[in-house]
Symmetry: C2
Subunit: 451 residues, 2 copies
């Protein structure tokens, strides 16, 4: 049997044992003579916390450490035995389309094992239907777990494996669409990577995540996931998209073009927003309504048109311009054999003039240098000011209105195909999957404050 109180030691452990507490129990801690009362689920402790601290998962989903003092009392409110999952084998419903769900990790479609406190992927069709019963009426789900990693640990290598797996499934099977469950930290990078790696898609590839894990009352996992499956089934486009909460309330999801979306908030459920483009669609998961917002989409292609170019060059850096930027950083990257550098410049695409000699040397050494802007919104225009013109003269490739992160992914993808700088420039300026939007309308800029 596993330790019911992992990480707890000494007097605190004795106290918890005397109350019959184990990890997963709901407990109440009372301190300061009743002036502070904290309730939550008892969680395992990691090795570095103080021996006097109890770790609780609060109802808002956050874990906190509570110090147990002389005047602290602990009460066990409930020790649920986790319900045995219904292991009903779902029978396929031939009238419904098939959707493939691929797990890569992250907080969506995961379960906390109350025995260990660990968050484990829970991606079987049965698990998903248990979490979201509405799925049964939308599609037949087929699922697999490809990775189980935190999204901050995704690399260009994972992009390739994922792209190759989906390419194989597209070629050999007949899914109406794909849903990729992904951690939100780097979801937009993976979306852009898949968009370049897999073109002329016969069906949408919908990345979906959750900002709050599915064991939290405020979880957005179910709504996002149902919306993603609805998109996989109903979307007329063959694009890689991100499907996430539109607003903080549980009413609507937005489907963003994978090469035009960015995580814009560290914690809100509506963190993902389109930049320099309209979202492609909105989805009402309650009424199961899917509606196109942006008519400039790439329609589903036929299966045999699929273009697969799944490789990425991992010797590309994304660096940021700032006052005092040290030109030696460029020199170091060149000397270390980097193949490409994307600069997140200022304004219309600038960096300090004293950096230009190092950029010139980089390009002369065969390193591709692409300019984007840290304003995120808007387009670069390197013809307006002297600095921009000088950068163009030494061979910097202007990144149009591409997000710095998308330009990074695209340059990694381009450099895996060619190192010829003329060809690199041609490909960076070629618009493959609407990663460049040539027409910006006023409503693409957010309304920042009620005036």
């Amino acid at each position: 049997m596993e330790d019911p109180l992992p990480g707890y030691e000494g007097k605190l452990r004795e106290l918890l044992e005397s109350k019959g507490a184990r990890v997963g129990c709901r407990i109440r801690i009372t301190r300061f003579g009743g002036r502070e009362i904290i309730e939550g689920l008892l969680m395992p402790k990691h090795a570095f916390s103080s021996p006097y601290v109890v770790v609780l998962k609060l109802d808002n989903g956050y874990n906190i450490g509570v110090e147990v003092r002389e005047d602290t009392s602990i009460e066990v409110l409930e020790c649920r035995t986790p319900p045995k999952a219904m292991r009903i084998k779902l029978a396929p419903r031939p009238e419904l389309p098939y959707v493939k769900v691929i797990g890569t990790g992250g907080t969506i479609a995961s379960k906390v094992e109350y025995e260990t406190g660990a968050v484990k992927p829970s991606m079987s069709p049965e698990d998903l239907v248990e979490l979201i019963p509405e799925l049964m009426d939308v599609a037949n789900i087929d699922s697999e777990v490809l990775f189980n990693i935190l999204s901050e640990n995704m690399t260009p290598y994972h992009w390739q494996v994922l792209a190759e797996r989906i390419a194989k499934l597209i070629t050999n099977e007949s899914f109406k669409g794909f849903v990729v469950a992904h951690g939100t930290d780097t979801m937009s990078y993976t979306a852009a990577a898949l968009a370049f790696a897999l073109q002329k898609l016969p069906c949408p590839i919908v990345l979906v995540g959750a900002q709050r894990s599915s064991d939290r009352p405020s979880t957005d996992a179910a709504l996002n996931f149902l919306s993603a499956v609805l998109t996989a089934v109903h979307a007329p486009f063959g694009e890689v998209v991100v499907c996430m909460h539109a607003t903080p309330s549980d009413t609507l999801s937005l489907v963003h073009r994978g090469v035009k979306v960015r995580k814009m908030h560290s914690s809100r459920r509506d963190a993902f927003q389109s930049i320099n483009d309209l979202p492609l669609a909105k989805v009402d998961p309650i009424s199961k309504k899917f509606e196109i917002i942006n008519k400039r989409f790439i329609p589903r292609a036929s299966k045999d048109e699929l273009v697969v170019k799944p490789k990425f060059d991992d010797r590309v850096a994304l660096i940021k311009a700032y006052p005092g930027f040290q030109a030696e950083i460029i020199d170091m990257l060149v000397d270390r054999g980097f193949h490409g550098i994307v600069i997140e410049g200022t304004g219309l695409g600038h960096i300090a003039e004293n950096v230009i000699p190092s950029i010139k040397r980089a390009i002369e050494s065969g390193v591709a240098v692409v300019m984007t802007t840290q304003t995120l919104f808007g387009r670069i225009n390197m013809n307006v000011y002297t600095t921009g013109r000088k950068l163009l003269q030494v061979g910097v490739i202007p990144g149009e209105d591409m997000l710095p992160e998308v330009a990074y992914v695209k340059l990694s993808w381009v450099l895996a195909q060619t190192r010829d700088l003329n060809e690199v420039k041609r490909m960076m300026l070629h618009n493959y999957v609407n990663e460049i939007n040539y027409v910006h309308t006023l409503e693409l800029y957010p309304r920042w404050i009620e005036l």
Copy 2:
């Protein structure tokens, strides 16, 4: 006499001369048998353009190159002689407050010399009043040009010179407020730098710029400048702020806290927006109305309270996390003797786990490492996920809700005062000038799209 057609050569020059054209003339170019007509001011050419190209400044302010072909006709519409500036010496009006204007460069309060096409600073009180006659009724203007550089070329050294100059003026003279004319590319960095360098201010320091140069019909220079002077006079706060267009129309300016503002668009006039905080005030320059929006401001201090700490460490780097981030970049910075690194991490403050050993080594070598988030909005919270906790364990300093750029400026400022990592941590977490906002309300997040 200067060349009237600088950069123009050969047949094209002969053609222009035969029409009596010189730089500054308004000309009309007709091509494709009349199907394309372009009008604009003839501009000088730089050395790298094709010999067949005429450079025009369009009415929208952009310069374009137009190729002159066989079927192209050129017509000179007008060759104005630039009006002689009225050299009226302004008499001070003793009933009005004194405002000090400091020029650093950028497109605000500059004139295009039509003889050379160069944009020159034009910052004398007379120039300013000529541009914005309304100023005469608001304040007595005293002005000086401290630098004349493009803002992408600003460095921490310039921040110091500017801070020391303002400190001296505050100590020795009695201005109601300061207006600093600044290029927009790095204006928010300079605002943050001044905010840390000059605390307990007896008056506001208002940075102002223009997204369109003052020779363009769509210039925002006059409105922004008048709003900035109104702020300098009327603001109850002693803070460093940025005053810029609130909307694309010429009706309202917003005053943003210097440590909570960011240029969010490469070209729009309302590019500057507050992030994670409300703007401090709004200004209607037409009715000359100044109104506080955010009551959490730092009031004007008395003159003798001024705290001057104008130094910055220029061995600090701001780097960005991305999938495939190469840990060797951290190693290189440490080996090159950098003193501090600000990471623009993902989500709640993460970077790939395989980078942690290099971060650990950096901190063990005495390099301060601060975590922020590339989502810009929201706060980091490194206690939620394993990666964050591991980063905290090796000594990464959590950057709260500070913008990556502000954390970069602050760390440069802190490291100029101490290299002791415990003290660096204490200072980075200390809230000096409301660079940390502990309470985020829902309305701080923009409304992205009309649903």
